[in-house]
């Protein structure tokens, strides 16, 4: 039976990476008895291995907790997990829209970070009740009072009631649960109105198909109902409604205010897009819930199998991943250098890395990845507009009137000692200073306009290294602006290697070309002849290096006739060669195609 609304609380946790969100979620599960201590695998909510390794949440989950409060009443608490990375801002906003309250978890030693602030503002936009939690107070460097002031000064929240907690030791867990009951408003919504349920995540299960996770905003959904996804109009019959405890458990129905999942033999996650509204086919709601948009990839790169005969395997793997991840796009790409592969679109660099790793780990594929690119808006001399996500697809210069590139507004939070280096970095990266705020005596927030291309180049790594890891970054897309952009080609042994071409700002072309050819000189093994490597803009060579020919490679004598060992050495040498791509007569290793990202860093 559905739960009475006044005993429901829907909330999420907002935290910076490493500030202890997953540990806190574990404590809440443990305290409410959703899991016994014995069943606890550390950090239950992050289910993918990758998430646990990286300590970040990629896929969201929702858990129903039963909590008997001090007032003697049993409450149902729905904890909706949110991803903690800028790539997934849209998903975060949909999760927040499914809640009435949020725990703001801030590390007592670190203070507020850019990503946290961005998500708090997002939560405030959705009118969420925010409960500050100052975590890790057991750490020697904890400064809860400083952090409390920072929360008040920076966000403008009343932090006098902030809960001091240690998710590690369990201190403060009960206070947090009580604060959720007391301060987060119960959901509202009419259980008898036409169904409106907000999808905040979906997964693909190979037995039951795509499974949306949703919050019922109005009405009710039962097993056997015919439902409609309002963005696509696709209709399905519900064969299961359930909640996570955290193990999935079927329930009779879910009514306004409740959170759960449904299964309806849906073949593809493209029907269960995050942000879409589920309604009843028989009695549809007049309009979908606000805020849905189709997520567009921001970053593109080419993925090619190292062994060309595994092209079909790569396509199968991408199709399978796409079942689970509607924001991943791909289409066939043909490269002269790399053969057949796919041009793939991602929400951001992290998303790209995750997909690559999953392809390699879960599908055993060896990949060559080309340097990531943003989407350029190319305005032709005849007024036509083309969106270009691949440098090789850039029209000839004489057909281009101008090129526009995506800009973001970036917020960087840093201890004030690093303001200088951060400003320098932003200048180097073609940034436009917008403003600077003091968050506290020690910390500063800087706002810059920056080209997205610079962010995906090496901005984040540079930011981390120039601020010894203390700065944090968040950004939002602002739109397209014209820039002086040129295509730079790389020639290896006098042949253009298309997979190495890139688009860069005219003023950076020389420096970037130098760094890239230098890096390639280190990465490409010596061949039996001299190999020139050149960077060229149009027909003008702007940088050149030469890999000298291999002169000597001989095995010493075979002691005691140990031929097997020699054979194995030779096999290893040959194996290494096989894993390279032959471009013309030159063997180029996998890493070379990502060299542009690492150029100038070694």
């Amino acid at each position: 039976m559905s739960v009475e609304q006044k005993y429901i609380r829907n909330f999420c946790i907002i935290a910076h990476i490493d500030h202890g969100k997953s540990t806190l979620a574990d404590r809440l599960l443990e305290y409410t008895g959703a899991l016994s201590k014995r069943e606890m695998v550390d950090q239950v909510l992050d289910t993918m291995d990758l998430e646990r390794e990286r300590g970040i949440t990629i896929k969201l989950q929702a858990v129903r907790l039963h909590y008997r409060a001090r007032d003697g009443q049993e409450y149902v608490l729905n904890l909706i997990d949110t991803p903690g990375h800028v790539d997934f801002t849209y998903e975060v906003s949909r999760s927040l829209a499914a809640c009435e309250g949020a725990l703001l978890v801030v590390d007592a030693a670190q203070g507020i970070e850019a990503q946290t602030l961005a998500n708090v503002y997002l939560a405030l936009e959705h009118n969420l009740e925010i409960i500050p939690v100052i975590n890790k107070i057991d750490l020697p460097g904890a400064e809860p009072e400083r952090v409390r002031r920072e929360i008040e000064d920076v966000i403008g929240l009343d932090a006098s009631e902030a809960i001091l907690a240690s998710a590690k030791t369990g201190v403060g867990t009960e206070e947090i649960l009580e604060a959720i009951i007391r301060r987060v408003p119960p959901p509202r919504g009419d259980g008898e109105a036409p169904l409106q349920a907000l999808i905040f995540d979906s997964i693909f299960d190979s037995y039951r198909g795509a499974i949306p996770y949703f919050r019922v905003v109005q009405g009710r959904v039962r097993k056997g109902d015919r439902i409609r996804f309002m963005a696509t109009g696709a209709e399905f019959e519900v064969n299961e409604v359930g909640v996570f405890t955290p193990a999935p458990r079927p329930v009779e129905s879910l009514a306004a205010g409740e959170v759960g999942f449904l299964a309806a033999s849906i073949k593809n996650v493209k029907y269960t897009r995050v942000g879409d509204t589920i309604t009843s086919a028989g009695r549809p709601a007049p309009a979908p819930l606000p805020g849905y948009r189709k997520v567009m990839p921001m970053v593109y790169c080419g993925l090619f199998p190292v062994e060309s005969e595994r092209y079909d395997d790569l396509r199968d793997a991408l199709e399978k991943l796409q079942l689970n991840d509607a924001s991943l796009t791909f289409e066939t790409e043909t490269s002269v250098a790399l053969g057949f592969g796919f041009r793939c679109g991602f929400l951001g660099l992290l998303h790209m890395e995750i997909i690559q790793e999953r392809l390699e780990r879960e599908y055993g594929l060896e990949l060559i990845t080309t340097a990531p690119s943003v989407v350029y808006r190319v305005v032709g001399t005849n007024g036509s507009v083309v969106m270009v996500d691949n440098p090789t697809a850039l029209p000839a210069p004489n057909l281009i009137d101008h090129i526009e590139e995506p800009f973001v507004e970036a917020t960087i939070m840093t201890p004030k000692d690093f303001v200088g280096p951060v400003m320098e970095l932003c200048q180097e990266k073609r940034g436009n200073f917008l403003n600077m705020d003091y968050l506290s005596e020690k910390r500063v927030a800087l706002k810059y306009d920056l080209p997205l291309a610079e962010i995906i180049y090496d901005f984040f790594d540079q930011l981390k290294s120039r601020t010894r890891g203390y700065a944090s970054l968040d950004y939002t897309l602002k739109g397209y602006r014209p820039s002086e952009l040129v295509k730079m080609d790389i020639l290896v042994n006098n042949e253009v290697v298309d997979a190495l071409s890139l688009i860069t700002h005219r003023d950076q072309a020389y420096q970037r070309g130098r760094a890239l050819v230098e890096r390639l000189r280190q990465l490409i093994p010596r061949q039996l002849f001299d190999v020139p490597i050149q960077a060229a803009v149009g027909s003008r060579v702007i940088a050149r290096e030469t890999i000298p020919a291999l002169r000597k490679n001989v095995l010493a004598k075979c002691y005691g006739g140990d031929v097997t060992r020699k054979r194995k050495l030779l096999e290893k040498q040959k194996e290494g060669k096989k894993r390279m791509k032959q471009v013309g007569t030159v063997d180029i290793p996998q890493e070379a195609f990502m060299a542009v990202l690492k150029a100038g860093k070694s």
């Binding site: 002169r551 095995l555 005691g560 006739g561 031929v563 054979r567």
Partner: protein, 388 residues
């Protein structure tokens, strides 16, 4: 090539390698199986085991009389004269020896005495291979060798006095801190001694050695490829001018003095290896004995052959080995012999590879032989890898 057993792949005659895994101390570049500073008792027990293995192996494989016997190491001459004699007598007792067989012993100039040399001679040893490496005391010390320049002269003259008429000197170039002049000086001194045979190896830095670890941290001052290449060419020129014929990548001999034992490896002919860590190639199988002395001994006391890994080589592997070992010889691989042995034409089996290598100028066909070119010689690995 008259001394080379041609195409005799069912050759009754056998080639025997015996490994002595002991040395005074481990050199900084050495990753061969050798245990430094062992007691005379350990050595005596080992020799006893070797005798057991010979008996067992002779019974199992029934090799024909030995045409070559090679005592290698480690440092065979670290053994007391009595043990050396026992081993050589045991070979003759179990396997027999063909008249005129080549019997070689490797020796470290720091471990030689006239007594030992006389015992070796009277036990039928007719070839001595001296691990000279360099005539530069500074380099010898850096390598961790126990001998010095004067020991080389002493050992060499003792060997001559004991009646050795076939002496090889092993030299190494490309040593850390070595210059071309230094290498030329070593070559000059070696030539002045007028040995019958010379080997000039380029230093291989192996991972699990003191030098390997230094190199990994960038703290080994290696001469670099260009200089190494220059040293190699210098050796080839100087030795050729002095009447030594290069017959293998690293080996040079006066006419009639090629090492027949090593030729069996290069021609991919069968051989039996005895002793810890020794490798064998016999009737389509390759194996290696246990390297660990306890394991080696335990197998033998249980009456079993101490074979650690046995690999049945496929015809494809045998062909590959015949190619990449044979190409080490300057004469190259005899394509007719290849055809007789495998029933296939190497030019067809390796059509693509040979085409590529010929075009790159790394190999050439001369008569019935496929051989490395002048250009291919220092790049031999690039050639070999094509055949595996």
């Amino acid at each position: 090539m008259g001394i080379v057993p041609q195409a005799g792949f069912v050759n009754k005659a056998s080639h025997i390698y015996i490994h002595i895994p002991f040395c005074a101390r481990k050199c900084n570049y050495c990753d061969f199986i050798s245990y430094p500073e062992q007691s005379p008792e350990v050595m005596a027990v080992y020799c006893h085991r070797l005798e057991e293995e010979m008996e067992l192996a002779a019974g199992t494989w029934q090799p024909g009389p030995a045409v070559t016997v090679f005592l290698g190491g480690g440092t065979p001459t670290i053994l007391p004269a009595g043990l050396l004699e026992r081993i050589l007598v045991a070979v003759e007792r179990n396997i027999d020896r063909q008249p005129g067989a080549e019997v070689s012993v490797e020796a470290n100039p720091g471990t030689i005495t006239l007594e030992k040399l006389r015992v070796l001679r009277s036990a039928g040893v007719n070839r001595l291979s001296l691990g000279v490496q360099s005539f530069d005391d500074r380099l010898l010390k850096a390598m961790g060798r126990i001998h010095r320049r004067r020991d080389i002269y002493q050992a060499y003259h003792l060997a001559r006095r004991a009646g050795f008429a076939n002496i090889n000197l092993d030299l190494i170039f490309g040593l850390p801190g070595q210059t071309l002049e230094n290498w030329q000086a070593t070559l000059k001194e070696a030539l002045a001694l007028q040995p019958e045979h010379l080997a000039a190896y380029s230093l291989q830095v192996e991972e699990n050695t003191p030098w390997g670890r230094l190199a990994a941290t960038g703290n080994l001052n290696l001469p670099g490829e260009e200089l190494e290449l220059a040293m190699y060419q210098e050796a080839r020129e100087m030795l050729a001018a002095a009447g030594y014929q290069q017959y293998e990548i690293s080996n040079f001999a006066r006419p009639g003095y090629r090492c027949r034992h090593n030729l069996t490896y290069w021609l991919n002919l069968p051989y039996l290896g005895l002793g810890a860590a020794a490798a064998s190639s016999w009737q389509g199988e390759r194996w290696q004995n246990y390297s660990n002395l306890e394991q080696y001994g335990a197998a033998l006391s249980a009456g079993q052959l101490p074979r650690a890994e046995i690999e049945v080589t496929t015809p494809r592997q045998q062909m590959a080995e015949t190619m990449f070992m044979g190409l080490r010889l300057l004469a190259g691989v005899n394509l007719q012999a290849f055809r007789q042995r495998f029933g296939k034409d190497a030019r067809e089996v390796y059509a693509g590879e040979m085409e590529r290598l010929l075009r790159a100028g790394l190999v050439e066909v001369q008569g019935y032989h496929l051989k490395l070119t002048e250009r291919g010689l220092p790049l031999a690995n690039e050639v070999f890898a094509a055949f595996v």
